[in-house]
C-alpha cells in the first residue's frame, strides 16, 4: 500500500546551516512513527516543511499520493495534516472552546454550530471539558498541551505531527497522553511523534527514525534503533554511556 505521507530527499538550508540534508521517510496508514535526535537536529524544521510553513531548498513532500510542497499551510491543514507546536501557541484572547472551534470551522469546514459541538466533544475526549470556557492563560501548562492536541484534532487530520507534546509533563500526565495517542491510532489517525522522552517514544512508536545534524542516521524498530552504535554515539550516548 502506498504510504500516507512521504518525505523525499528534503534539504533545508538556512544560510550556511544545513538544517535538513536529503531526509527521506514514509509514514504508513495507521502507523506511529517516532523521530528522535539531539537539540538542533532538524526535527521541528522537518515539521515546518511538511506543514508548509517553510519551503525546503530541495526535495518534496507527498501526501495521499499528491505533491504538497509549495502549498500554503492552510491548504495542507485542510488536506488532512495537523500539528502541535513545540511551544504551545493557543490564541490567548479566545476561550479554550473557541480555540478548538475555529480549527473545526476552518480546518474541517464545519458550520459554526457544528464546529461548536465538535469542539465540545473533542475537549471532553482530551479531558478539558471542565475548562472549556476559560482562557488558555488560565489553565495549567499540561492542559495547554492537551489544548494544542485538541486544536490539531479538530481540523480532522489523517496525519498528526506532534512536536514534543509531552515535554514538561509528569510521568502520570505522560501516561495519560500516551493513552490518548493510542486511542487516536485506533481511530485511524497516523502520527509522527517527535519526543525527547525516550521511554515514551520507544514505547508508543511502531518505527523510529533518528536525525542528527539534519541527517537521518538510523531507521527501524525501536529496539533495533536503540542498539544501533551510531545512534548510541550521536544521541543516546550521553545518557546511556
Amino acid at each position: 500500500m502506498a504510504p500516507l505521507l512521504e518525505v523525499r530527499k528534503v534539504t533545508c538550508r538556512f544560510g550556511a546551516l544545513e538544517a535538513l540534508a536529503d531526509v527521506d521517510f514514509q509514514l504508513r496508514e495507521g502507523e506511529i512513527l517516532g523521530i528522535i535526535g539531539p537539540n538542533g537536529a532538524g526535527k521541528t524544521t522537518l515539521f515546518n516543511v511538511i506543514t508548509g510553513s517553510i519551503r525546503p531548498s530541495a526535495g518534496e513532500v507527498i501526501f495521499q499520493g499528491r505533491k504538497i510542497t509549495g502549498e500554503r499551510p492552510y491548504r495542507i491543514c485542510r488536506l488532512g495534516i495537523a500539528r502541535t507546536s513545540q511551544i504551545a501557541r493557543p490564541f490567548p484572547g479566545l476561550t479554550v472552546r473557541e480555540n478548538v472551534l475555529i480549527a473545526a470551522a476552518y480546518g474541517k469546514g464545519l458550520s459554526l454550530d457544528r464546529a461548536r459541538s465538535e469542539a465540545g466533544e473533542i475537549l471532553t475526549s482530551v479531558g478539558l471539558g471542565a475548562v472549556a470556557d476559560l482562557t488558555p492563560t488560565a489553565i495549567s501548562p499540561a492542559s495547554r498541551r492537551r489544548l494544542e492536541l485538541a486544536r490539531a484534532l479538530a481540523t480532522g487530520p489523517r496525519a498528526l505531527l506532534l512536536d514534543e507534546n509531552m515535554a514538561g509533563l509528569t510521568s502520570g500526565e505522560i501516561g495519560e497522553m500516551l493513552g490518548l495517542l493510542n486511542g487516536l491510532r485506533e481511530r485511524g489517525i497516523s502520527m509522527v511523534v517527535v519526543e525527547h522522552i525516550i521511554k515514551a517514544v520507544m514505547g508508543i512508536s511502531d518505527r523510529i527514525i533518528v536525525l542528527d545534524h539534519g541527517h537521518k542516521i538510523a531507521e527501524g524498530r525501536p529496539h533495533e534503533v536503540a542498539a544501533d552504535p551510531q545512534v548510541v554515539v550521536a544521541y543516546l550516548g550521553r545518557r546511556y554511556a
Partner: protein, 311 residues
C-alpha cells in the same frame, strides 16, 4: 437580551424620526456623528479585529468622492449610480492593493497604506496637469450638483452606518470574526488550523473600503465642493484611529461609542473654547487611553481582571 432588543428598537425609531423634529444645527450634528460612527466602524473591521493597522483608510473615502464627482458631475448620472460605483471601485481597488500589502506586518503595513493614500492624493492633484485633460479639477477642486435636503444626507448616512454596524455584528457571530481575531493573535497559528489568512484579511479590507468609498461619495455630495487635500486628508484617517482606540478595538460598539464621544466632545469644546479646544481634546484622549487602555467599551466590559483558575 429582551431589554437590549427594546433599547435597540427604540433608538432605531428615534433615529429614524429625528429629522421630523429637528432641523438646522441639530440635524447637522447628528449627521456628522453618524458619519464618524460609520467611518470608525469601517476602520475597526480589519484594524480592530485583525490588528492590521491601516494608516491610509482615507484613500477609499477620497476614491469614493472622486468617483461620485465623475459620475454625477461629468457623466450626469444620479447619486445612486455614483454610490454604487463608489462602493464597487473602492472594493476592487482595495483587493488589488490589499492582496500584496496585507502580506506586510505591523508598521510596514501601516506605512504602505499611508504612502498609498498620499500618492493617490498627489495623483488627484496633478492628474489634469499631467494629462492635459480637465477632468478632476486638481487643486482648484471639483463641484457637485446641489442637493439642499439635509434629511436626505442624514438618512443616507444612517443607512450606511446601519449597514456597516450590521456587518460587524454578523462578523462577530461568524467563523469569519473568529478568523480575524485569530489573525490578530497569532497569524501563523491561524493559518495552521486551516484559516486562509490572506483571504480573510483581503475580505475585511475590501468590505471596509467599499463602505469608506460610499461615505466619501455621500459626504462630498453633501459638501458640494471637494479638493484632493480635503478628501484624501490624513486627519480623517487619524480620527478613525483615535475614535476606535478610544472606544475599544475589536468590539462592535467600541468605535461607535468612541466616535460619538470624541465628535460630540470636540464640538462642545470647539464652540466654547475656540483657541484651546484642541489641547483639551488631546488631554481627554490621553486620559482615556491612560485610564482605560482597552477603550471605553473594552474597559467597561472586560476591564476587570478575569478570575484565574488553575485547572
Amino acid at each position: 437580551m429582551n431589554l437590549r432588543i427594546v433599547i435597540g428598537l427604540t433608538s432605531c425609531a428615534a433615529l429614524i424620526a429625528l429629522p421630523l423634529f429637528f432641523g438646522g444645527y441639530a440635524i447637522r450634528l447628528a449627521t456628522l456623528t453618524i458619519m464618524w460612527v460609520g467611518l470608525a466602524t469601517c476602520w475597526n473591521l480589519l484594524s480592530g479585529y485583525a490588528r492590521y493597522i491601516d494608516f491610509g483608510s482615507v484613500v477609499y473615502f477620497g476614491i469614493g468622492s472622486y468617483i461620485a464627482f465623475l459620475v454625477m458631475a461629468r457623466l450626469e448620472q444620479s447619486f445612486w449610480v455614483a454610490l454604487i460605483l463608489a462602493a464597487v471601485a473602492s472594493g476592487l481597488i482595495a483587493l488589488a492593493i490589499g492582496i500584496p500589502t496585507l502580506r506586510l506586518k505591523g508598521a510596514y503595513f501601516a506605512i504602505a497604506t499611508f504612502a498609498f493614500a498620499e500618492a493617490l492624493k498627489q495623483v488627484a492633484l496633478e492628474w489634469d496637469n499631467l494629462t492635459g485633460m480637465s477632468l478632476l479639477g486638481g487643486s482648484h477642486g471639483a463641484t457637485f450638483p446641489i442637493n439642499t435636503s439635509s434629511a436626505f444626507f442624514y438618512y443616507v448616512f444612517l443607512a450606511l452606518t446601519a449597514g456597516i454596524l450590521t456587518i460587524t455584528i454578523l462578523t462577530e457571530r461568524s467563523a469569519f470574526g473568529y478568523a480575524l481575531k485569530a489573525i490578530a493573535q497569532d497569524e501563523d497559528a491561524a493559518e495552521g488550523v486551516g484559516v486562509n489568512t490572506a483571504r480573510a484579511k483581503a475580505q475585511a479590507y475590501a468590505i471596509s473600503a467599499s463602505f469608506l468609498g460610499m461615505y466619501g461619495a455621500t459626504e462630498s455630495y453633501w459638501l458640494t465642493y471637494i479638493t484632493p487635500s480635503s478628501v484624501f486628508d490624513v486627519h480623517i484617517t487619524i480620527q478613525m484611529v483615535i475614535m476606535t482606540l478610544l472606544g475599544g478595538m475589536g468590539t462592535v460598539l467600541g468605535p461607535a461609542v468612541g466616535a460619538a464621544f470624541l465628535y460630540l466632545v470636540s464640538e462642545m469644546l470647539w464652540a466654547r473654547f475656540l483657541y484651546v479646544y484642541m489641547a483639551m481634546v488631546g488631554l481627554i484622549i490621553i486620559g482615556v487611553i491612560l485610564f482605560m487602555p482597552q477603550g471605553i467599551v473594552g474597559s467597561l466590559r472586560g476591564g476587570f481582571p478575569k478570575p484565574h483558575k488553575e485547572a
